[in-house]
């Protein structure tokens, strides 16, 4: 029954709460700056470098005689990257039926717009000649985006409504304050990941592809999930200790009680993702990186950001209406 025991903790979120908010600010600042910088300097004022899924590009098709193995496909990818063709989509087409001219397979390369730039086409042809016997350029054509504006707007609308759904549910099950803190937590995490990719875009020319939306959705899902576990513990502890301890002490204790779980859960998810990042395919590397960053920051925000926000609000309220101090419980 000792409040000393529950108050025992490894991390003190309440005492140093403004330091934690500063850490969040420091984490978010470079990315935000990069987003603003890119939004001003990029064409179309898009704050991220967008890939051919959003912009469209050029498809080059080469006919080759030999069968294509996975390893030669990987080699082609590396060769193309080395001559400056970033993130090409390489697909193998099997010509149906007609194998005239001895062409058995077609390599289809999708890349950013090349247009009439014969030099680049020649460079690609040269790169392919290293890997295959006499690749024959069959066609060069431009393609439109797979993710047009409509699709993008539609996704944004869906995500906004999903946010409202989260707020409604958390308001019913917890309190509006908690819902707001959770949403700010999501915004915190998404801003960090998007900012990081804006930075990567500026310094390493990393482009975002269609999968980026999925990665962001995953980050959102994880962020809320993580935050709710901490909030649930605060809710439970409030029920038992609200008369003996201040809200700050309870928040602190709750964060510390869920600390092992928070770290273990993130660790297991990160283990899978790190394996995918280091041993997995090249085409999904950026996608996995976005999720790794998101899950790491999601864990951070549920401990050091969302709980701190709730604590600050709770304090603020209690200072205004000292009479209600003991009824902080939900």
């Amino acid at each position: 029954m000792t409040t000393d025991n529950i108050a025992k903790h490894i991390i003190d979120i309440v005492k140093h709460r403004f330091i934690w908010l500063c850490v969040s600010a420091i984490l978010l600042l470079p990315g935000t700056a990069a987003l603003i910088y890119s939004a001003i300097h990029n064409e179309n004022h898009v704050p991220l470098k967008v890939g051919i899924d959003y912009t469209g590009g050029t498809i080059l098709q080469y006919g080759v005689k030999e069968n294509i193995s996975n390893s030669s496909l990987s080699k082609t990818r590396v060769d193309l990257q080395s001559i400056g063709i970033d993130n090409p989509y390489i697909q193998i087409l099997h010509a149906n039926g007609d194998s005239q001219d001895g062409i058995n397979n077609i390599i289809s390369i999708r890349t950013k717009f090349i247009g009439e730039d014969q030099d680049t086409v020649n460079k690609i042809t040269e790169a392919l000649s290293k890997d295959y016997e006499n690749p024959e350029l069959i066609s060069v054509s431009s393609v439109g985006p797979t993710l047009g504006n409509e699709l993008f707007k539609n996704s944004l609308l869906a995500i906004t409504l999903a946010f409202l759904g989260i707020v409604a549910y958390l308001t019913i099950r917890f309190k509006f304050d908690y819902a707001l803190a959770a949403i700010l937590g999501i915004a915190h995490d998404v801003l960090f990941v998007v900012g990081a990719f804006s930075l990567l875009g500026i310094f390493y020319d990393v482009q975002i592809d269609g999968l980026f939306i999925t990665a962001i959705l995953t980050v959102v899902g994880f962020s809320v999930h993580d935050t709710i576990v901490v909030f649930d513990r605060i809710r439970e502890n409030l029920r038992y200790y609200s008369k003996k301890m201040s809200f700050g002490e309870i928040a602190n204790a709750s964060v510390n009680q869920t600390l092992a779980r928070s770290i273990n859960t993130s660790l297991t998810t990160l283990l899978t993702l790190l394996a995918l990042y280091f041993f997995g395919g090249v085409t999904t590397k950026d996608f996995v990186l976005a999720m790794i960053l998101g899950i790491a920051i999601g864990t951070y925000s549920s401990i050091f950001f969302c709980s701190v926000l709730v604590d600050i609000w709770e304090d603020h309220k209690n200072n205004k209406t000292p009479a209600e101090k003991t009824t902080a419980a939900i």
Partner: protein
């Protein structure tokens, strides 16, 4: 204890059913993972649409997209290529022939009237009333049991139809579909109210014929005919090489997770690993049974749901450990561990399910695939954590005191020294605490 043994056999049955489903049903994979068919359609100018402008192409792309969606082929990509071509990529269609027939049809419905041209020949001429005036079409039967296509016009179309029938009382009105004459009944009186029926002439429609017409009419007409000029089978967009590597990496990652659980939580960790395998089997069987077309986005949802399933187990074990530290006996500790972890599992998973429902209803293909697999995963994970893990824990540990704290990764001297949980009387009764 008897209930627990019955539950155990129920779980065994579910596992067997899942394994059978996995072996019997084919896996549906998306274009990005397995490839499919690539068709190139070329827009054909007509008398009324002489030039293929970008605007016409946008309408054509939209029409083809909505038609593909009606066809129920998930995860299809439609892109413009060049000035007047569309690139359509369809994952693993079973009947490409059907898809091709469906894509190329203009589905242009026209109402025509008779007129005498300058050479003195009677011919059918356009009236301005077309399939674009339709609100919807349904498949019904007429009074003698023949299949008919029922039409319902939009407000403006209703007016056009009323005017046209008024004009043509006593004369024939022809209905053309895809440029072919379907029927040309005589108009007996003006028809108000915006409803009409097409019967298939004297012989009537065959069911398939009428159904196809209804589907095409509802999916909307193409602004211009589109011809299939190229047809290939394609490899996965993400590259076969990348996918092969990622498969191995995914297995390595899951292996790490299982090792971690075992090392940190010991015997309960082992139980969680078994529960996790069962979880994956059930989920995979569900994907096949529904069926869900798996794309990389879908797999991301799957990975996240595995994370959440592991999380449920971690939450439960951490709580159980706390209860054990507080000196509870095994049965009580496991029960209250589950009970106390349940609210956080429930609330976090409910938020995920709400989010997924909204994303599924409103989102587009990528978002939809993600939402579906994640929602299914979360639902199955609740079942797996609460039913499977709990059942196994009870069966293995039974009741009584914890003799070997090492099994839980606890030290003997930790027991009874942690903070003490305070329960309300109601909870005491529920957990079977009698002190």
């Amino acid at each position: 204890m008897k209930n627990k043994i019955i539950m155990f056999w129920v779980i065994v049955l579910i596992v067997i059913a899942s394994i059978i489903t996995i072996f019997v049903k084919p896996t549906k994979l998306g274009l990005d993972l397995v490839g499919g068919s690539r068709l190139v359609l070329e827009a054909q100018p007509t008398q009324s649409v002489v030039e293929i402008t970008p605007e016409v192409m946008n309408r054509l792309q939209f029409a083809i997209e909505s038609r593909v969606n009606k066809l129920g082929v998930a995860e299809t990509v439609v892109q413009q290529t060049g000035d007047k071509r569309l690139l359509v990529e369809i994952p693993n269609v079973t009947d490409l022939k059907e898809a091709k027939a469906f894509l190329g049809e203009t589905a242009q419905l026209e109402f025509k009237k008779e007129a005498v041209n300058k050479d003195g020949v009677t011919e059918w001429v356009e009236t301005g009333l077309t399939g674009q005036d339709l609100a919807k079409s349904t498949l019904t039967t007429d009074s003698v049991g023949h299949w008919v296509v029922s039409l319902e016009f939009k407000a403006e179309g209703s007016k056009k139809f009323a005017d046209l029938t008024k004009e043509l009382v006593g004369k024939p009105m022809a209905i053309f579909f895809n440029g072919d004459l379907v029927s040309a009944p005589n108009v007996n009186e003006a028809i108000y109210g915006g409803k009409a029926q097409i019967s298939g002439g004297d012989s009537g429609f065959a069911y398939e014929e009428a159904e196809r017409m209804v589907n095409l009419l509802n999916a909307g007409a193409l602004p211009v005919p589109a011809k299939i000029v190229e047809e290939n089978t394609v490899g996965p967009t993400l590259g076969a090489d990348s996918i092969a590597k990622s498969k191995v990496a995914g297995i390595i990652g899951l292996g790490f997770v299982m090792l971690f659980m075992l090392a940190y939580y010991r015997l309960p960790g082992l139980i969680a690993d078994v529960a996790l395998i069962i979880y994956s089997l059930i989920l995979f069987a569900l994907f096949k049974a529904i069926p869900v077309t798996l794309t990389l986005a879908g797999i991301a949802g799957f990975i996240l749901s595995i994370g959440m399933a592991v999380d449920a187990n971690i939450l439960i074990f951490e709580r159980t450990k706390e209860e054990l530290r507080a000196g509870r006996n095994l049965f009580t500790a496991i029960n209250s561990g589950f009970d106390r972890a349940f609210t956080s599992i429930f609330d976090s998973n409910m938020t995920t399910i709400i989010t997924c429902t909204i994303l599924y209803l409103l989102g587009t293909s990528i978002v939809k695939g993600f939402a579906l697999t994640l929602a299914l995963g979360v639902i199955v994970s609740m079942f797996s954590a609460i039913t499977i893990t709990k059942n196994f824990m009870h069966l293995i540990f039974g009741t009584g005191e914890l003799k070997y704290p090492q099994l839980f990764g606890l030290r003997k001297d930790e027991i009874g020294k942690g903070f003490e949980v305070t329960e309300t009387k109601r909870e005491n009764a529920r957990f079977g605490i009698l002190d």
